[in-house]
């Protein structure tokens, strides 16, 4: 029997800058080519293009000049998806994700990061770019060459264990595009 997953196990907590009607957020659907499942709240995605009906398509992580978007909700949440297999088909919700755009200024706290690393104040962070890896879209301070690797944030308060007993990383959103290829 799998261990129950709690609503705070995978989450994004905006510490500063949101909730506001003037906050920069962006909505779209996960690109059909993405096999990472689920893409949790707190992970990073970028807009990779638009569907034939004009709906933004999201892919996990970011690189090159792709603007990072920090997900407020994940594909496993009931206001995004309500999968029923052959037993039911949900009319609402319709698969839309939304997130905070990384070129705006927020202080965020996420559960979706490489917990094996040590994080120093002001360190640069990037998000793993992959359409299939289990850690796609998670934050890490590893293998970052400034101005080559695309950066999405800098560490603020750092790593801690929150009131729910879950490991989190706090950071300020800060987008620095890199010269690496955009994929």
């Amino acid at each position: 029997m799998p261990t129950p997953v709690m609503m705070f196990d995978h989450a994004l907590s905006p510490l500063k800058g949101w909730f506001s009607p003037y906050a920069i957020d962006f909505s779209g659907k996960l690109d059909a080519t993405v096999t990472t499942d689920p893409v949790y709240a707190g992970r990073v995605v970028h807009c990779s293009g638009y569907s034939s009906t004009g709906i933004p398509q999201f892919k996990p992580g970011h690189n090159g000049r792709s603007v990072p978007i920090f997900l407020l909700n994940g594909t496993d949440q009931l206001d995004v998806n309500n999968p029923g297999g052959n037993h039911w088909k949900s009319i609402a919700p319709a698969g839309f994700l939304s997130g905070l755009v990384g070129i705006a200024c927020y202080e965020l706290e996420s559960t979706e990061f490489d917990t094996a690393q040590t994080y120093l104040h002001n360190e640069y962070l990037r998000a793993v770019r992959s359409d299939s890896a289990a850690n796609a879209g998670t934050l890490t301070n590893q293998i970052i060459t400034l101005y080559t690797t695309s950066v999405c944030a800098q560490v603020s308060r750092g790593k801690r264990t929150n009131q729910h007993g879950v490991s989190t990383l706090s950071f300020w959103t800060h987008f620095l595009p890199g010269s690496e290829a955009t994929s």
Binding site: P4, V5, M6, M7, P21, Q77, L78, D79, V80, N82, G84, N86, H87, W88, K89, S90, I91, A92, P93, A94, F96
Partner: protein, 310 residues
């Protein structure tokens, strides 16, 4: 052949007549200032197929792993069949188990309209009212968009696909154009499933229905054909179905007909927050947007059918 010069002259004469008649100045002014509309909008179709039920927070079912609202709905279980037995034999046991499905919710919102109030004063029409009325109709269109997309998915996702729940192709191509024969063939789709349902509601668009207006006397059966030629289509009941004609041709394509059983055989449509208009005025800036929270699911795909007439 229309004569624009004569029509314009008649309009001008009508306006001058109103201007010169005491008390008619305002009517003339209204006629001059009445704004020109550009787009036809209609009420929602989804709400006519599955009427919405208001649900309160007390009706929601709590989940341990999320605080997002959801509602669990029981579904009729299947029964093993009755059998014949000789004497001295007891029937086999069947432990009672049954299916349920989950309805979850999201928000539909209009754009957030913003304006300096001074600039609003230069409009002769009430632009705020026009935009908010249109925004609410656009929200109903968003509901319809999700409903038809889910209908197509529940039937198997494409024309000719077998519905894995029923084992029947419920989205079929039917040759012969839009004729009495082809419409009756379309009505046969739903009863072919193991659930023996009959279509109660049919939806076509406002282009497709014009092919029905072409039916001659022998195809239509009597004077109704003459009435259609004179007055156009206005029927709500036809072929034993409640007919809904929609202008949303992007959702209900030309030469396609969606059919639905009684809503109790299809699913649920819940309203958690009814359509609400948020308005805020700060100094000389006004902003407003509309929002609603609703949920829906198709719990049983046996009550759906679609015919594409070729």
């Amino acid at each position: 052949m229309p004569n624009p010069r004569m029509e314009s002259q008649m309009l001008n004469e009508a306006i001058f007549e109103q201007l010169s008649t005491p008390g008619q100045e305002k009517q003339a002014a209204d006629a001059i200032n009445e704004f020109t509309r550009t787009t036809m909008r209609e009420d929602g179709v989804y709400r006519k197929v599955i009427p919405p039920l208001t649900i309160t927070p007390d009706d929601l079912d709590r989940q341990y792993d999320t605080d997002k609202p959801s509602k669990i709905i029981d579904k009729e279980p299947g029964n093993p069949p009755a059998v014949s037995l000789p004497f001295g034999t007891l029937p086999v046991n069947t432990y009672i188990l049954g299916p349920r499905y989950r309805v979850s919710f999201d928000r539909i919102v209009s754009p957030r309209f913003v304006k300096d109030v001074v600039e609003l004063q230069t409009w002769s029409m009430d632009i705020r009212q026009v935009m908010s009325d249109n925004a609410i109709k656009d929200m109903l269109t968003e509901e319809d968009s999700k409903f038809f997309a889910t209908t197509n998915t529940a039937m198997g996702g494409s024309q000719g696909a077998t519905n894995p729940t029923t084992g029947v192709v419920q989205w079929q191509a039917i040759s012969g154009g839009v004729s009495r024969n082809s419409l009756e063939e379309a009505k046969k789709i739903m009863p072919r499933t193991p659930f023996h349902l009959e279509a109660v509601t049919a939806i076509v668009n406002n282009v497709t229905i014009k092919d029905v207006e072409k039916w001659g006397r022998d195809e239509m059966g009597g004077d109704f054909s003459q009435d259609l030629v004179k007055q156009g289509w206005s029927e709500k009941n036809f072929l034993g179905l409640n007919f809904i004609i929609t202008i949303k041709r992007d959702l209900v394509p030309d030469d396609s007909m969606f059919m639905y059983a009684d809503p109790k055989f299809i699913g649920k449509n819940f309203n958690l927050e009814d359509t609400t208009m948020y308005i805020k005025k700060e100094a000389y800036m006004v902003e407003f947007f509309a929002y609603q929270c609703s949920g829906g699911a198709i719990g049983h795909s046996g009550g759906l059918a679609r015919a594409d007439f070729t």
